[in-house]
C-alpha cells in the first residue's frame, strides 16, 4: 500500500459515479425536512405568513425545486465531491497566482457555526453587531500595519472589485482637483489582467507595457507611456512570473512626476508579508486578496474578499459605510460626502473577514513574516527540482531568483516531443494531483505553467508534485501516446476542447441545461 517509495508516484484512480443531476433525482412529494406547523399563538399573531405579502408579489406556483430526501442529498453531494479534486484532497501547488494555502478548519467552524456569525443580519442595529464590527475594525488595522497605507475597506467581494474600486477612487481624486484631462491607465503585461480590465470598466484607456529581458518592462517603456493624460498605474509585483521588479520605487516616482497615482495589486503578496510594504515603495493605493494571502478559502467564483487600502489623502473617497470606533462602541459611518458610494451590498462577505482575522491572530506578526519566508524557500526548492526536468525552460531573468511563484514553460518539451502544456496538465490527474494553472491571457510565455507552493506544503508534498511532472516529461519523451486522451483514471477522460468553451454548450442552471438538451 501507499506510494512507491522510489518514485513517489501513486496508483491513483478516481471515483466515477455516473451520478444524475439532482433535478433528475426529484420524486414528487419527497422531502428532506418536514417543517413543523407554527404554534397557534404565533399563527394568531402572524396569520398564515403569506397573506401579508402583496398579491402581485406572491408566487402562483411553487418553485420547481428538486424534491429529494436528506440521505439522498448527502449521498449525491458526497459523490460529486469524490469526482472533483480540490485543495483538501490533493497537493494543490499547481494553481500559481492563487496561493492555495491551508485554510484551518477551526475558522470554518467559527464562520459557519458561531451564532455571533450565523444569527446576525447586516440590517440589525450597530449596537447588536459589535462583535463583527470589531473584527472589521481590527482587520483594517492589521492591513494598515502590513501595507503601511492609512485606511482600508473590506467591502469588495473579489480582488477585481477592489481594483475596480481603486480605479473609481483615482477617478474621483482627479475630478476633485478639476483635472479632467487624465483618461489613461498604464499597466504591465504580467500584471494581473484585471489591472487592465477594471480600469477599462471604470472608463479608462489602457496602455500595457511589454516585458524586457529582465521580465519586467524597461523604464523607457514606462516613460514613453506617461503623459499629462495618465491617471494612474496599476501594477502587480512580483508579477505573474514570480519576478520582483526592483525598480518599482522608480516607476512610482516617474508616475508621480506627471501627476498620476499608483495602485499596487497585491494578489501576489504572500512572499512579502512583513518584508516589503506598499508605503515604502511610494504607492497611493493597494489591495489584498483576503481569500488568498490570508487563508480564507477561494469560494470558486466567490464569495471572496478584496481589501483595498489608500493613503490618508484619498480616504475621503472610500466606499461607505466605514466601520468606526468612538472609544466605546463600533458603528457604521455613512456621512462621507465625497465617497464614491457603495461597491457591494451591506459590508461585504463578513465570514471571510472573520476567517482572515483568526488566521492573523493565530500567526502574529512574526508568524506572517515566517509564512512569507517559507513560501519563498518552498518555491526556490520546487524551482530547482522543476528546472531539472527535461523539457522545462524558464523565460526571462536567467540566474535570478523568483519570489513565491514561477511561470515555467514546456517550450522545449513541445519542440522535442510535440507534447504541450495542455497534455501534461491532463495527465497530472492520473497521478492524483489537480491540474495546474497555465497562464493568464495573452500567453506571452509559450506552453506555460505556473506553480506556487506556498508555506503550507511540506518537503514531501513538493517532492511528490515534482515527481509527477518528471514522470510526465519522461512519458512525453518515451511514450507520448499515453498523454493524448489523458486523464485515464478520472471520471471524465476526453475533455472536448474547444467545444466545452463555447457558451452554447455550457449550462450553469437547470433551465439552461433543459434548453440545450431540448427538454422544454
Amino acid at each position: 500500500m501507499g506510494r512507491n517509495k522510489e518514485t513517489l508516484l501513486r496508483k491513483f484512480h478516481q471515483a466515477r459515479w455516473d451520478e444524475e443531476i439532482i433535478f433528475e433525482m426529484s420524486v414528487p412529494g419527497e422531502r428532506g425536512i418536514l417543517v413543523p406547523k407554527a404554534e397557534q399563538a404565533i399563527c394568531a399573531e402572524a396569520g398564515d405568513g403569506v397573506s401579508a405579502i402583496p398579491e402581485s408579489l406572491r408566487r402562483r406556483q411553487p418553485p420547481a425545486l428538486p424534491e429529494v430526501g436528506q440521505m439522498r442529498v448527502l449521498r449525491h453531494f458526497m459523490r460529486l465531491s469524490q469526482e472533483t479534486m480540490g485543495a483538501d484532497v490533493t497537493i494543490d501547488i499547481g494553481e500559481g497566482t492563487c496561493t492555495m494555502k491551508y485554510s484551518p478548519k477551526v475558522q470554518e467552524h467559527l464562520a459557519a457555526r458561531h451564532p455571533g456569525m450565523t444569527e446576525i443580519h447586516p440590517l440589525q442595529d450597530d449596537d447588536t453587531l459589535q462583535g463583527i464590527l470589531e473584527v472589521y475594525y481590527k482587520m483594517e488595522r492589521f492591513l494598515k500595519e502590513i501595507s503601511g497605507l492609512d485606511y482600508f475597506c473590506l467591502q469588495p467581494s473579489s480582488g477585481s472589485q477592489a481594483i475596480y474600486t481603486n480605479a473609481c477612487i483615482i477617478r474621483a481624486y482627479h475630478a476633485s482637483r478639476g483635472d479632467r484631462e487624465r483618461n489613461e491607465i498604464i499597466t504591465t503585461m504580467f500584471s494581473h489582467p484585471v489591472d487592465a480590465a477594471a480600469p477599462a470598466t471604470a472608463g479608462y484607456k489602457v496602455i500595457t507595457l511589454m516585458p524586457g529581458e529582465n521580465g519586467y518592462p524597461d523604464m523607457g517603456a514606462l516613460k514613453g507611456a506617461l503623459s499629462k493624460h495618465t491617471a494612474g498605474i496599476f501594477i502587480t509585483n512580483p508579477e505573474d512570473t514570480g519576478i520582483y521588479n526592483p525598480e518599482i520605487d522608480d516607476y512610482v516616482r516617474a508616475a508621480h512626476e506627471v501627476g498620476a497615482l499608483c495602485s499596487y495589486d497585491q494578489a501576489n503578496a504572500n512572499g512579502l508579508l512583513g518584508i516589503a510594504r506598499a508605503k515604502e515603495a511610494g504607492f497611493d493605493l493597494c489591495h489584498f486578496n483576503i481569500h488568498k494571502t490570508f487563508s480564507a478559502p477561494h469560494g470558486c467564483m466567490g464569495p471572496a474578499m478584496g481589501a483595498l487600502g489608500v493613503t490618508k489623502e484619498l480616504a475621503k473617497f472610500l466606499p461607505v459605510p466605514r466601520v468606526e470606533f468612538d472609544g466605546k462602541r463600533y458603528y457604521l459611518d455613512y456621512n462621507r460626502p465625497e465617497s464614491i458610494g457603495r461597491v457591494r451590498s451591506f459590508f461585504g462577505n463578513a465570514p471571510l473577514a472573520l476567517k482572515a482575522y483568526a488566521w492573523i491572530m493565530q500567526h502574529g506578526a512574526d508568524g506572517l513574516r515566517e509564512a512569507a519566508e517559507v513560501s519563498v524557500l518552498n518555491n526556490n526548492y520546487l524551482e530547482k527540482k522543476i528546472r531539472e526536468i527535461p523539457g522545462v525552460v524558464v523565460w526571462y531573468a536567467q540566474g535570478k531568483r523568483r519570489l513565491e511563484q514561477v511561470r515555467y514553460s514546456w517550450e522545449k518539451l513541445t519542440e522535442e516531443t510535440g507534447v504541450g502544456s495542455d497534455q501534461v496538465e491532463r495527465r497530472m490527474v492520473d497521478y492524483g494531483v489537480q491540474h495546474y494553472f497555465q497562464s493568464h491571457h495573452p500567453m506571452v510565455v509559450p506552453e506555460p505553467f505556473t506553480l506556487e507552493p506556498c508555506e503550507s506544503y511540506s518537503k514531501d508534498d513538493i517532492d511528490e508534485f515534482a515527481a509527477v511532472l518528471r514522470q510526465i516529461s519522461k512519458e512525453a519523451y518515451e511514450n507520448s501516446e499515453i498523454l493524448f486522451g489523458a486523464p485515464h483514471n478520472a471520471p471524465i477522460h476526453d475533455i472536448p476542447v474547444p467545444a466545452i468553451l463555447d457558451p452554447e454548450n455550457i449550462a450553469t442552471t437547470w433551465r439552461q441545461y433543459k434548453r440545450i438538451k431540448g427538454m422544454q
Binding site: 503585461m189 487592465a196 477599462a200 479608462y204 484607456k205 489602457v206 496602455i207 500595457t208 507595457l209 511589454m210 516585458p211 524586457g212 529581458e213 518592462p217 524597461d218 523607457g220 517603456a221 514606462l222 514613453g224 507611456a225 513541445t414 519542440e415 522535442e416 516531443t417 510535440g418 504541450g420 495542455d422 494553472f437 497555465q438 497562464s439 493568464h440 491571457h441 495573452p442 500567453m443 506571452v444 509559450p446 506552453e447 507520448s480 501516446e481 493524448f484 476542447v497 474547444p498 466545452i500 468553451l501
Partner: protein, 371 residues
C-alpha cells in the same frame, strides 16, 4: 475522415548553409549543389510529420510522389495515397503549384508544405486562400508569416487542427523577397498575398482564463479605436495588410490589400498610390500614417509598404505614425522589437525607441522599435 495534403519542396534550404540566400532559379541551384549543399526540407518535413503520426489511424494522407512528399510521409510512418507525377531529381516550382492545386481539388482539410518564401508564393499562386495551409520552415531566411516557428511546432499545430482541438484560421502574409537583390545585400520585399493558416494554440483560450476576444473582434476594436480618433482635417495613409484592411471595411471603403490607400474625412481619396502620389497628397496637408506588422520578422516599415518612403515619413512627421497590431501578433515576436528598414538609416535611428501600438478599442501596448 480528415485529409492531410503533403507537399515538400525538395530543394528548399539548400542555399543557406553555403551562403547563397535561397535557391530560386536553376542556375543558383546548380551552384548550391556544386558547393555541396544538402537538401534540408526532407528532414524537416519528416520531423513535422512524425508529430502528426499519432493520428495516422484517424486521417488520410495524400502526398506528391517521391521526394516531394511521399518519401517523407513513409519515413514518418504514414502510408500515403500518392497523386500526380514528377520527374524525380528535376522538380521545379511548377510541380509545387500543380501539387497544391490537385490537393486543394481533392478537398484536403489542411495542406502541409515544407519550403521557404518561394514555396509559399507557389502555394499562394495555386490555391490562394481557398484551403487552409501551413508551412514547415525549411527555407533560408523566411519572411512569410505562413510558417510555424519550427518543424515540430508545425506538426503540433497541424495535428491539433486535424483532430479538431484547433478550429480557427487566420490570414497570414506571403512575402516576395527578390533573391537576386537579397544576395547583393538589398532587401526588396513586397507583400505578395495571403494564405489561410490555422490559428496557433497559444491564442486559443484555456479553461480557467475565461473570455478572450477572437481575432476578428480584436481587429474590429483596433479599427474602431483608430476611426474614433480620426480628425476630418487630416489625410490618413493606410498601409497594406489584413489588419489595416479592417479600418477600410468598417468605413465601407474599397481597400487595396497589398498596396497603399489614402482617405480623408472618412472618404476615399485614392487607392493603391505610388510614392510620388503620396508626396503630392501630403505636401502641406496634415496627414497620418497607419501601418501594421508585415511578414514574420516584425517589420512596420520597409516590407511591402516601400511607397511610404523616408521622404513621405519625414513629410508626415514621426509623431503622426499610428502602428496597429493585435496583441497576439506582438507576442509572436517573442520579445524582438518591431523593425523599421526604410532604407534611410538616419530615419531608422530616429524611429527607434518605444511606440504606442493600438491593440484594441481604447487598448494599447508600448512596444520597442529597432532596426
Amino acid at each position: 475522415m480528415k485529409k492531410l495534403g503533403v507537399v515538400v519542396n525538395p530543394i528548399a534550404g539548400m542555399g543557406g548553409r553555403v551562403g547563397l540566400k535561397g535557391t530560386d532559379g536553376t542556375e543558383i541551384l546548380g551552384q548550391a549543389r556544386q558547393l555541396g549543399a544538402q537538401p534540408e526540407s526532407p528532414q524537416k518535413a519528416i520531423e513535422a510529420l512524425k508529430v502528426i503520426a499519432r493520428l495516422k489511424d484517424h486521417i488520410e494522407v495524400i502526398a506528391y510522389p517521391s521526394e516531394m512528399g511521399e518519401n517523407e510521409c513513409r519515413s514518418a510512418g504514414f502510408n500515403p495515397t500518392v497523386v500526380g507525377a514528377i520527374s524525380s531529381g528535376e522538380t521545379t516550382s511548377r510541380d509545387t503549384q500543380r501539387a497544391a492545386k490537385e490537393m486543394a481539388a481533392a478537398g484536403v482539410s489542411l495542406l502541409l508544405f515544407a519550403g521557404g518564401d518561394g514555396t509559399a508564393r507557389n502555394i499562394c499562386d495555386a490555391i490562394g486562400e481557398s484551403a487552409p495551409a501551413l508551412g514547415v520552415p525549411a527555407g533560408v531566411k523566411i519572411h512569410s508569416a505562413v510558417y510555424a516557428v519550427s518543424p515540430k511546432s508545425a506538426g503540433e499545430v497541424a495535428a491539433m487542427f486535424l483532430d479538431g482541438r484547433l478550429k480557427n484560421t487566420r490570414s497570414a502574409e506571403v512575402m516576395d523577397i527578390d533573391e537576386d537583390a537579397f544576395r547583393n545585400g538589398v532587401v526588396a520585399a513586397r507583400l505578395y498575398g495571403y494564405l489561410t493558416v490555422p490559428d496557433e494554440r497559444r491564442f486559443i483560450q484555456s479553461v480557467k482564463s475565461g473570455a478572450i476576444v477572437s481575432e476578428q473582434r480584436a481587429l474590429h476594436g483596433i479599427a474602431d479605436d483608430v476611426i474614433s480618433e480620426m480628425n476630418d482635417e487630416c489625410f490618413y495613409i493606410i498601409g497594406p495588410g489584413t489588419t489595416t484592411r479592417v479600418i477600410m471595411d468598417r468605413l465601407g471603403l474599397r481597400n487595396t490589400l497589398l498596396g497603399i490607400d489614402v482617405i480623408g474625412n472618412k472618404r476615399l481619396i485614392a487607392n493603391d498610390v505610388t510614392e510620388s502620389q503620396l508626396i503630392g497628397l501630403v505636401k502641406g496637408h496634415k496627414a497620418k500614417i497607419i501601418v501594421t506588422i508585415i511578414g514574420g520578422q516584425g517589420h512596420v516599415f520597409g516590407r511591402g509598404n516601400q511607397q511610404i518612403s523616408p521622404r513621405v515619413i519625414r513629410e508626415v512627421g514621426k509623431e503622426n505614425i499610428i502602428v496597429i497590431a493585435t496583441k497576439e501578433k506582438l507576442i509572436s515576436l517573442s520579445g524582438r522589437p518591431l523593425l523599421v528598414d526604410t532604407g534611410d538609416e538616419a530615419l531608422d535611428q530616429e524611429l527607434k525607441g518605444y511606440v504606442r501600438v493600438v491593440t484594441g478599442y481604447r487598448d494599447y501596448v508600448m512596444h520597442k522599435v529597432g532596426y
